[in-house]
């Protein structure tokens, strides 16, 4: 570890500013590490990459209205940053729109995805520079592009997920000057920044040139899925990745770059539940990002209380699915053909071998109506046989109730047997309750177990565990991000006050 002292007073500095931008430090002691950086999910809530599992502009169904998706991205650092903001549709993860956003120190950028007659578009009233500079003024640029010319393809753009990637920090004082706000809070010269895009300008006067340094992190974000008619507000924060790249990763407008898999170096460092640290080197940056997002079990609640007409949807998004299927290398999402598995779908559910006790679905009192709980307390499991949910899109919505709260057309296939379980998961209050006669469910907990076969896994090139080399380690599961959403409604209140639950993501290794 190296200590750099730049001032005698306040002896501190937020470390995330320090790691890549020593030159910008005004005060404080900087701590840098002698070890290489390694991509990891952020525990502080900010990072170089933000992954938002879901956007939607669909009609909400039920009590009416449309979903709008409000997006807010903040730069919590004193750096100038160049970001890629990319929207991918839910079915196969095709890009439906993208733009580059330039944030000055402490700047925020807000935008909204709203429905059009046939699809979706991006709107903003934020002043931050974007490229193309005419994104919000030239006719049609802000419209989401269908993956082909069919009506169905246009409809597909109405739900999906969002990637925000920090491509680099802007070190050129000239470019920083273009981004500086005037008295009306408008940047000095967004047109000049647009002219620096490789698609517009001429080398060497184009990005990245000498204008950028490696990403510095410290981005945060928020999405609000809003239905003003019913009063739904599902606000959530994205999954953030720290230390995604130690080199500049600039991609011009509509260049398709950078992809999420452009992580550098291709390493991960993971704090395990038992306190040990697994450091792994991967064959590619894509595998490193996938490894950082691997989970073999997604646990969350379902709330379907009949007295409040509650509904629960979970969003389950596979952020690296699109890129893995464009390469021939190891693919944790691939599955062998199976009579139980529709082609192209990712299964989750009860392990076929029952080799390990895992929760699949229980009501609030450990019960599983329609199943026989195994009463062996050391290996409790439900002898329901195989209960499989098939996720056949990149961004999937698991609807637990009798309809999708999000009115998604990208729904996970839930078997009748599983759905009848959810809807029967009512619990009976005991005589000791303080709330006589209260509605009691259905509600409970479910886990999506990504443990289908030995294909749902990734193996690194090499690993150490607390500094000691270990061989034959595999991380089990699939790269996944998710959130759960639920509602309550009350007669006479025009509101379906919604809440978001991030859920728990389990990590499992095999040695």
């Amino acid at each position: 570890m190296k200590i750099k002292r730049e001032s005698a007073k306040p002896l501190l500095h937020p470390i995330h500013r320090v790691l890549s931008t020593l030159g910008l430090i005004a005060t404080g002691i900087a701590i840098t590490s002698g070890t290489a950086s390694a991509v990891q999910p952020s525990i502080n809530g900010s990072g170089q990459v933000l992954l938002f599992p879901y956007y939607s502009v669909r009609p909400a169904g039920g009590d009416g209205g449309d979903y709008n998706t409000l997006l807010s991205i903040a730069n919590t650092t004193a750096e100038y940053k160049a970001l890629k903001v990319r929207f991918r549709e839910a079915k196969t993860g095709e890009e439906v729109n993208e733009l580059n956003v330039f944030l000055s120190p402490n700047d925020s950028w807000v935008a909204a995805v709203i429905p059009t007659t046939t699809g979706a578009r991006l709107v903003t009233n934020d002043n931050s520079c974007v490229t193309p500079a005419d994104f919000f003024t030239a006719a049609g640029r802000d419209l989401f592009r269908p993956v082909d010319s069919t009506t169905a393809a246009m409809d597909r753009v109405r739900e999906g997920y969002i990637e925000v990637i920090e491509m680099g920090t802007i070190t050129s004082t000239t470019v920083q000057g273009h981004m500086a706000r005037n008295a009306a809070l408008v940047p000095a010269n967004c047109t000049a920044i647009g002219a620096l895009d490789p698609a517009t300008g001429t080398a060497p006067n184009v990005f990245p040139g000498n204008f950028l340094a490696a990403p510095g992190g410290g981005l945060s974000g928020r999405v609000t899925l809003l239905n003003p008619v019913t009063g739904i507000n599902f606000s959530y924060v994205p999954t953030a990745l720290e230390a995604w790249s130690n080199v500049v990763r600039y991609g011009g407008v509509r260049s398709g770059a950078p992809l999420l898999g452009a992580a550098s170096p291709p390493e991960t460092r993971t704090l395990l539940e038992d306190g040990r640290v697994l450091h792994s080197v991967w064959a590619t940056g894509l595998e490193a990002v996938s490894a950082a997002l691997m989970s073999d079990g997604v646990v969350n609640e379902f709330i379907l209380d009949s007295g409040t007409n509650s509904l629960t949807d979970w969003v389950v998004t596979f952020p690296t699915y699109y890129e893995h299927f464009k390469t021939s290398a190891s693919n944790p999402y691939s599955n062998p053909s199976s009579p139980q598995l529709p082609a192209g779908c990712i299964p989750s559910g009860w392990p076929t071998t029952n080799s390990e006790s895992r929760l699949a679905m229980v009501n609030r009192e450990e019960g599983a109506p329609g199943c026989s709980p195994n009463l062996n307390p050391t290996v409790p499991r439900l002898s329901c046989g195989v209960l499989t949910l098939n996720h056949c899109s990149v961004a999937n919505v698991v609807a637990y109730g009798n309809r999708s709260l999000l009115n998604s057309t990208s729904q996970t296939i839930v078997s009748d047997r599983a759905r009848s379980f959810f809807q029967a998961a009512t619990t009976t209050a005991a005589s000791t309750t303080s709330v006589p006669g209260q509605v009691n469910g259905p509600n409970g907990t479910a886990e999506l177990v990504f443990d289908w076969t030995n294909t749902q896994r990734l193996a690194p090139v090499s690993s150490t565990l607390d500094g000691v080399a270990v061989s034959s380690v595999a991380i089990l599961g699939v790269p996944v991000i998710s959130i759960g959403m639920h509602t309550y409604t009350r007669t006479g209140v025009v509101s379906t006050y919604g809440g978001v639950i991030p859920g728990t993501h389990r990590l499992k290794l095999q040695f």
Binding site: I29, E365, V470
Partner: protein
């Protein structure tokens, strides 16, 4: 699928590996852990009956196939005085749900969940489920500055919650008591009372029959006002590896404290992936270490067109173990990183003064004040109201912005540039704020430190141990709803060597 040697890392003591787990309390990566800290609850009637009341719904899930003895402790906002302390016994994958609701004068816990609790008659004997002022009245009075309200039950209506896994129940007979039958009701909750050393009448009582906590608890809270259509749902902060030994405390005993972590070692992951592991003088400090943050960043949303309000919650879960009562000759010396005992104005800690410590930015990154002072946080669970110092949550334990900051927040409107797609759209006062700690007292130094398992110069953590959340709402004319949302903050860490 071939039979494989599957190893769930959740289970300690993995055989056949060269490296043994280094037990050290840490923030949970997965969202589940041995300890859950819920930074805020409120159960308060609105001033107008038509506006209903705030309730807080709590859900605790055992995601592991084990039987667990869990402490649920409810503490009030101002000085973390205990309001109720019960033990909950969760079967494998069991869930316990409860709600905190107002009474005529205070608040109480209610449930219609069947899971065993001790004392068993908690929810059947009148009054046992009501929050008590016993811990801050009479000989325990703490001089809360709210005058006549200092010992009233109104103080029980806001606070925070600790959930601590005390151990895993290993005795088959006790497991059978906890296990729910096909009717969803446990076999014998009364027998668990008999095993509680505070209630039982002898024989083999807890902690006999328990092994060390194993983690896997997760929690969710929903602050709800059904009349106003508010639903603020958040998940608890989870700590893993809190203790490697049983930490049983009888119902109502006040034990175990959050600071009973064992061993007193903390692990922090740095943004570049490095691991800082530190040994402390006490478990209390190890828990504080994993919650130490030098700064918190979050949004404020004050759109005029939607009459939006924003509150931030900042809770110091370990503060009660560092400070005492200011009055009297025996007042203890408050211990770093805290600097004030509880007295006439609470027990205040401040951000760093100036723009570095207390600064807001509008949506275009322009600072709100040229020379801000500092923000004072005087409670354990503080509510910072952003709209005219009026709390969206209707909280009373508030940390108001300075007058200068309030004026600046009210004027933080941004104007759309010529490139906007939304001509004339609502341009709220919105942006974000940073609060930064790190005064001379706001730091903690361990006994020793390692970085990636190698010795390193001892490293002082700079900041305060806290948990934060932001809540905001939108309103629309004609819709009786405050469509509320919760925004998790961004934290920063800082160190000195």
């Amino acid at each position: 699928m071939p039979q494989m040697n599957r190893i769930a890392l959740a289970l300690a003591g993995i055989a056949g590996l060269a490296v043994q787990p280094a037990t050290a309390v840490q923030l949970s990566r997965s969202g589940a852990g041995q300890v859950l800290i819920f930074p805020y609850f409120i159960a308060r009637p609105s001033a107008s009956a038509a506006d209903g009341e705030s309730n807080t719904l709590i859900s605790i899930v055992n995601t592991k196939p084990q039987f667990k003895a869990v402490k649920v402790r409810v503490l009030e906002s101002r000085n973390a005085r205990e309001l109720r302390d019960i033990n909950v016994f969760l079967g494998p994958w069991d869930i316990w749900t409860t709600a905190i609701i107002p009474t005529a004068t205070g608040a109480r816990l209610v449930t219609n969940d069947n899971t065993c609790v001790t004392p068993r008659n908690m929810f059947s004997e009148p009054g046992l489920d009501s929050f008590t002022n016993a811990s801050y009245s009479g000989v325990f009075a703490d001089g809360d500055p709210f005058g006549a309200g200092s010992t009233t039950l109104d103080r029980t209506r806001e606070g925070y919650i600790e959930v601590i896994e005390m151990g895993v129940v290993t005795t088959p007979q006790t497991q059978a008591f906890i296990k729910h039958g096909t009717n969803g009701i446990p076999a014998n909750c009364a027998a668990l009372d008999a095993l509680d050393p505070g209630i039982g009448t002898g024989g083999t009582s807890f902690p006999t029959g328990l092994s060390a906590p194993s983690g896997g608890l997760n929690g969710r809270a929903t602050i709800i006002n059904s009349a106003l259509g508010i639903n603020f749902t958040y998940t608890a902060t989870a700590l893993d590896n809190w203790s490697d030994s049983v930490r049983y405390g009888a119902a109502g005993s006040g034990q175990p404290r959050l600071g009973a972590a064992s061993p007193p070692v903390s692990t922090i992951v740095l943004p570049n992936g490095d691991t800082l592991r530190q040994t402390w003088a006490s478990g209390r400090d190890a828990v504080s270490a994993v919650l130490m943050r030098s700064a918190v960043n979050n949004e404020f949303i004050l759109d005029a067109g939607t009459a939006s309000q924003t509150d931030w919650i900042i809770t110091f879960p370990t503060k009660r173990d560092y400070i005492g009562i200011a009055a009297g000759a025996t007042a203890p010396i408050p211990q770093a990183p805290f600097s004030s005992n509880f007295g006439g104005f609470g027990a205040c800690d401040e951000t760093i003064a100036g723009s570095e410590g207390y600064q807001g930015f509008n949506r275009e990154g322009v600072p709100l004040l040229a020379a801000p002072t500092s923000l004072r946080l005087c409670w354990v669970s503080n509510i910072i109201p952003f709209f005219s110092n009026i709390s969206l949550l209707r909280a009373t334990a508030v940390a108001p912005h300075t007058n200068a900051m309030q004026t600046a927040l009210a004027g933080a409107t941004t104007q759309g540039g010529p490139a906007t797609s939304v001509p004339g759209g609502v341009q709220g006062g919105n942006g974000r704020m940073t609060l930064r700690f790190g005064t001379a007292a706001q730091r903690m130094t361990p006994i020793s430190s390692t970085l990636n398992n190698a010795p390193t110069a001892n490293t002082t953590l700079v900041g305060m141990p806290f948990i934060s959340l932001g809540v905001h709402n939108y309103r629309r004319s004609g819709v009786i709803s405050n469509y509320g949302g919760v925004i998790a903050p961004v934290y920063e860490q800082a160190f000195v060597k």
